[in-house]
């Protein structure tokens, strides 16, 4: 079946612009996660959605970052007024059970 998809695969934006990154999870997966991975670094947790519960936003690095999940499916991560330090690969994962996450291919964001 189809895996987790993310779009765009690459995004180059100018400093100060807003960007939206999209994640389509595996159908039926109730949990959705966003992570950020900088070059050569591990995954940094950003936000977690579980069903209809309020999302766990504890990993969002600043109020410029926000995410929503519509209809319990597609999620959008929005970064406002992008900064150069926001450049990274943004990974989305979904899961049916907590311990086995399925990752998308990521969106490589470059802020110039």
């Amino acid at each position: 079946g189809a895996g987790v998809s993310q779009s765009p695969s690459n995004k180059v934006t100018e400093k100060g612009k807003d960007v939206e990154l999209r994640c389509d999870p595996i159908s039926g997966h109730t949990a959705l996660y966003w992570y950020r991975q900088s070059l050569g670094q591990g995954l940094e947790f950003l936000i977690y959605f579980q069903g209809n519960s309020a999302p766990d936003k504890s990993g969002l690095p600043s109020d410029r970052f926000s995410a929503e999940r519509t209809g319990g499916s597609v999620s959008t991560l929005t970064i406002q007024r992008t900064q150069q330090e926001d450049s990274a690969v943004y990974l989305c994962a979904s899961s049916l059970v907590r311990w086995e996450q399925y990752f998308g291919p990521g969106t490589r964001l470059t802020v110039t």
């Binding site: 987790v4 996660y33 992570y35 670094q41 591990g42 995954l43 947790f45 977690y48 766990d56 504890s58 990993g59 990974l91 994962a93 907590r98 311990w99 086995e100 996450q101 399925y102 990752f103 998308g104 291919p105 990521g106």
Partner: protein, 111 residues
């Protein structure tokens, strides 16, 4: 503070040898620990989960151990192959029920 440390940033071994990767953690009381594989330009792929009451788990050429006293997990790949070359990440559940990952160990298996 909570930490997950994967001791080697990079590990180079010869084909056919056993690769052993280490994951140490601080200030976690995990019910389970996971290992993922990540290839360049791709998202991580789940490999194995081991629970706190399991000492060892095997899957084909992979073996994982979990010592909750030492707060350590070892990940072994036996009879390694060049196709095993990748970055391997360990992961634990954090206080907020979010998954926390180590920085990974980049394994290179040379023919």
């Amino acid at each position: 503070s909570q930490k997950i440390e994967q001791n080697s940033e990079a590990l180079n071994i010869q084909e056919g040898k056993t690769a052993t990767l280490t994951c140490n953690y601080t200030n976690y009381s995990p019910a389970y620990l996971q290992w993922y594989r990540q290839d360049p330009g791709r998202g991580p792929v789940f490999l194995l989960l081991i629970r706190e009451n399991e000492k060892e788990k095997r899957k084909e050429r992979l073996k994982v151990t979990f010592d909750t006293t030492l707060k350590q997990s070892l990940f072994h790949i036996t009879a390694s192959q060049p196709a095993d070359s990748a970055t391997y990440l360990c992961a634990l559940l954090g206080d907020n029920n979010d998954m926390r990952f180590g920085a990974g160990t980049r394994l290179t298996v040379k023919p």
